[in-house]
């Protein structure tokens, strides 16, 4: 351990975090494949998540084809439709968004932003990715087993999830459970790393209250995931036992195919409680990293410090804590004791307070900022608008009396796609445009980026806005076809066809983005180390892309918070976190 002499600058104590004992790869295999470098693991996570996410995107096209033009496509039958719904939901929520935000962005940004050389336990971190990959492969294999993937809906509610008649009852449901258990084991290995790195491996001067909000969001989400995934783990194990061994944890006595089944005495509600004790925090596991990242995007591209940093941090923590006591708002119509609804509706609506604080603070950060309408900024703005929209419909669904008629309609589909589908994806895309230059050393093409933004943003609204209306009409979700129900006017059918056309268009337009990713890697304009003139540590690395060990010889020392943009008197409109107070160039005549 090298003791760096105390420099006598106030607020910068002597080094107590020793240098990381880095793993030094010796061959191509350990450098790029079985790599223990968080940056490589991050890219592996991101590519795997994107690949399986594209599968889910194609599944959504198939669903939209069926919904928009029922009876036209003979290759989609009712069972397949249910399988598409299930796999689309499960992949998007867990295998894409969770893995991308925590495994992808978390791995890349945490060590760089807190000033560490790597995660604290790189070997465990590497195992995390390989177990995740195995989970993805097991999940993907369900498309090729007899009976296909499970069609139980992404919530996998028993009893129907494991009864005959539900597609995928032979293999699909078993492999789904196995895949989830693997995912949780893999995630735990990574998640422990992220938490310990943030808590115990920050560089000198990096206090928790100087962390960029990106790190706060990812950190809080990871802590939540470590406490919420156990419930899904237990639910998966018990459902697997019900299916394989014939236990009756979740299975009541019921008649299956005209015969009394072997089950009896179990509680389907128990599964729902376990599932949503995981499931609701999961919403915020996806949302909190998005909140954090979007705060940094807005501050950087509006050249202004984030408004109310401390409130932003406490709001993240408060949302994380509250999200553990709201789960049963997913179960108002489940048959649980009805008066529980009072409690869960109250806690649900209380979450609106910290969330509103965040939205106001984003808007107030933009207020009188020097807004650069770069592609990351466009996506950040798109996120705020989409999130407010999705959040407002959340107030409808959080109230028991309003929820009861709306539950299981397209209104719910519109709500959660806006709030935890489109909104986080907006942030993912904005973040990729923002950090791509750091990862590759080249800028993404701006024209393609703007086209991508406008098609995605407007398209998302054309898809999901009409769905609210369909839901208010009473159009149910998860139905293979609507038939000739009299309460559904014919305009609803043409609206469905319209939504499908837009959905396919927006889906295909994502190919522009993928092309941009590949094209810019070779032909993109060179970005330099800090193209956005940002303050946070990852932009101050000696090399771009950051080299082995991130920081060259010496770890950076942090002297200030992450948001010194447009500081009055400073010559530049940003002051990096590692710039000592004395070195700040002042405009002539300005008092220090």
């Amino acid at each position: 351990m090298v003791d760096i002499p105390y420099e006598g600058i106030r607020g910068i104590p002597p080094a107590e975090v020793p240098d990381v004992e880095l793993y030094h790869p010796r061959s191509w295999w350990t450098r790029y494949v079985f790599s223990q470098d968080a940056k490589v693991i991050a890219i592996q996570y991101s590519l795997t998540a994107t690949a399986i996410g594209l599968v889910a995107l194609v599944l959504s096209w198939l669903m939209r084809l069926q919904l928009g033009f029922p009876g036209t496509f003979s290759f989609i039958d009712a069972n397949q439709y249910l399988q598409f719904i299930t796999m689309h939901g499960m992949i998007m929520v867990i295998y894409l968004l969770t893995a991308l935000f925590l495994g992808g962005f978390g791995n890349y940004l945490i060590p760089l932003m807190v000033g560490a050389r790597d995660m604290v336990f790189p070997y465990v971190n590497m195992l995390s990715y390989w177990v995740y990959l195995l989970a993805v492969l097991v999940l993907a294999s369900t498309f090729f087993v007899p009976g296909g993937p499970t069609g139980a809906g992404w919530t996998l509610y028993p009893p129907q999830a494991i009864l005959s008649g539900t597609p995928g009852q032979d293999w699909g449901i078993i492999l789904m459970m196995a895949s989830l258990i693997l995912f949780i084991i893999g995630f735990t290995m990574g998640g422990l790393n992220y938490v310990v790195t943030v808590l115990q491996a920050r560089t000198r001067g990096m206090t928790l209250m100087r962390l960029p909000l990106t790190v706060w969001g990812i950190f809080t989400a990871t802590v939540m995931a470590l406490l919420a995934f156990p419930a899904l783990f237990v639910a998966s194990v018990m459902l697997l036992l019900d299916r394989l061994l014939g236990t009756s944890f979740f299975m009541p006595a019921l008649v299956e195919m005209g015969q009394l089944s072997k089950y009896g005495g179990g509680s389907p509600l128990l599964f729902q409680h376990l599932f949503w004790f995981f499931g609701h925090p999961e919403v915020y596991i996806v949302a909190l990293p998005a909140f954090g990242i979007v705060s940094d995007l807005i501050s950087t591209h509006a050249r202004k410090n984030i408004f109310g940093y401390r409130m932003m941090v406490w709001a993240i923590v408060a949302i994380g804590a509250l999200s553990f006591i709201v789960w049963a708002h997913h179960m108002y119509v489940s048959g649980m004791f009805p008066q529980f609804g009072y409690f869960f509706a109250t806690t649900t609506l209380i979450i609106a307070i910290p969330t509103a604080i965040k939205v106001y603070n984003w808007v107030l950060t933009l207020w009188r900022g020097d807004i650069h309408l770069t592609v990351p900024m466009l996506f950040a703005l798109g996120f705020i608008i989409t999130f407010v929209n999705g959040g407002l419909t959340g107030l409808f669904l959080g109230n028991v009396v309003v929820d009861v008629p709306l539950s299981d309609t397209m209104f719910v589909v519109a709500h959660f796609h806006m709030v935890m589908g489109v909104a986080p994806i907006m942030v993912v895309l904005g973040a990729i445009y923002h950090w791509y230059p750091k990862v590759t050393g080249r800028m993404l093409n701006d024209a393609m980026g703007k086209f991508h933004f406008w098609v995605t943003f407007l398209g998302a609204y054309l898809i999901f806005f009409p769905m609210h209306y369909l839901g208010l009409l009473g159009v149910p979700r998860r139905y293979f076809e609507l038939g000739d129900a009299t309460f559904i006017p014919s305009s609803a059918h043409s609206l469905n066809a319209f939504i499908s056309v837009v959905a396919l268009t927006v889906g295909f337009s994502q190919m522009v983005f993928l092309f941009n990713l590949v094209w810019s890697m070779f032909k993109g304009e060179a970005s330099g180390g800090n193209p956005w003139r940002a303050t946070t540590l990852e932009w101050q690395t000696p090399e771009t892309p950051p080299g082995h060990g991130n920081w060259g010889k010496e770890l950076p020392v942090v002297y200030r918070w992450a948001y010194d943009y447009s500081v009055p008197g400073a010559a530049e409109d940003f002051i990096p976190q590692n710039q000592p107070p004395r070195a700040t160039q002042l405009v002539q005549g300005a008092a220090s």
Partner: protein, 240 residues
């Protein structure tokens, strides 16, 4: 470098006591838990996560037990043994609990000797702990065998609610797996201690990192946790 040995060069201000100290630590840079190594912090956080897993298992079992309409078998009767003509309820479970709690004692002694760098005693005490653990798993295997011979299955049993067997095999099986993993780790670490890996700072096979005697304490944390969980299983499953 030594991630376990944290130097305090002396210039840093005196550490505050109590809540003010905690607030000062969390407001400081570099580490939130001062003088806690990465490995120990990681084990504590893992144990917190694992606590949630066992809590979910136990809560699910209690839900099943409370909501079933069929009588629940009486654990005192089910887990009784006839020894030398005497019918003694819960005798095997009492012995198992005693064995596991004794193993916590030997583990604590091993940690103590580890920090004194007494290689031989540390290794022996860890192996004794592992032996207690293996004994526990062995007696559990005996208990499982006995119940299976008497007709208890995950999907039913001769005395009442089918959730009895299901919960029993799931919870004790999951806990037994934890004990087994602990035994394997204890043996592996004991071997390293005995060989003197931590004195010569030999690098690990996979991780290429050096090990320290602190790993004995970290293994101990896990072991005490597994013990503590057993106390709850004992209380909620056998004594209820």
């Amino acid at each position: 470098m030594a991630e376990t040995v944290l130097t305090n060069p002396g210039q840093s201000p005196a550490r505050l006591e109590g809540w003010r100290g905690i607030a000062a630590d969390w407001a400081s840079d570099q580490r939130a838990f001062k003088n806690v190594s990465w490995g120990k912090a990681m084990m504590w956080i893992f144990l917190l996560s694992d606590t949630f897993i066992f809590s979910c298992f136990l809560l699910s079992y209690m839900t099943a037990r409370m909501s079933t309409t069929v009588p629940w078998p009486n654990p005192s009767e089910v887990f009784a043994l006839n020894i030398a003509g005497n019918h003694i309820p819960l005798i095997l479970i009492a012995i198992m609990t005693f064995v596991l709690i004794s193993s916590s004692g030997t583990m604590a002694m091993a940690v103590n000797f580890g920090y004194r760098r007494d290689r031989v005693r540390t290794a022996i005490l860890m192996l004794v702990t592992a032996a207690f653990g293996a004994t526990f798993v062995g007696m559990q295997a005996f208990e499982w065998t006995k119940l299976i011979m008497e007709g208890v299955r995950p999907w039913g049993n001769p005395w009442g609610a089918p959730q009895f067997g299901a919960s029993f095999f799931m919870i004790t099986g999951f806990h037994g797996t934890h004990v087994t993993i602990g035994v394997i780790f204890l043996i592996a670490i004991a071997r390293k201690v005995f060989r003197g890996d931590f004195d010569v700072e030999r690098r690990g096979f996979f991780t290429s990192r050096r090990g320290y005697y602190e790993i004995v304490e970290i293994t101990g944390l896990y072991w005490h946790f597994v013990d503590l969980v057993w106390v709850f299983i004992f209380a909620f499953f056998y004594l209820w």
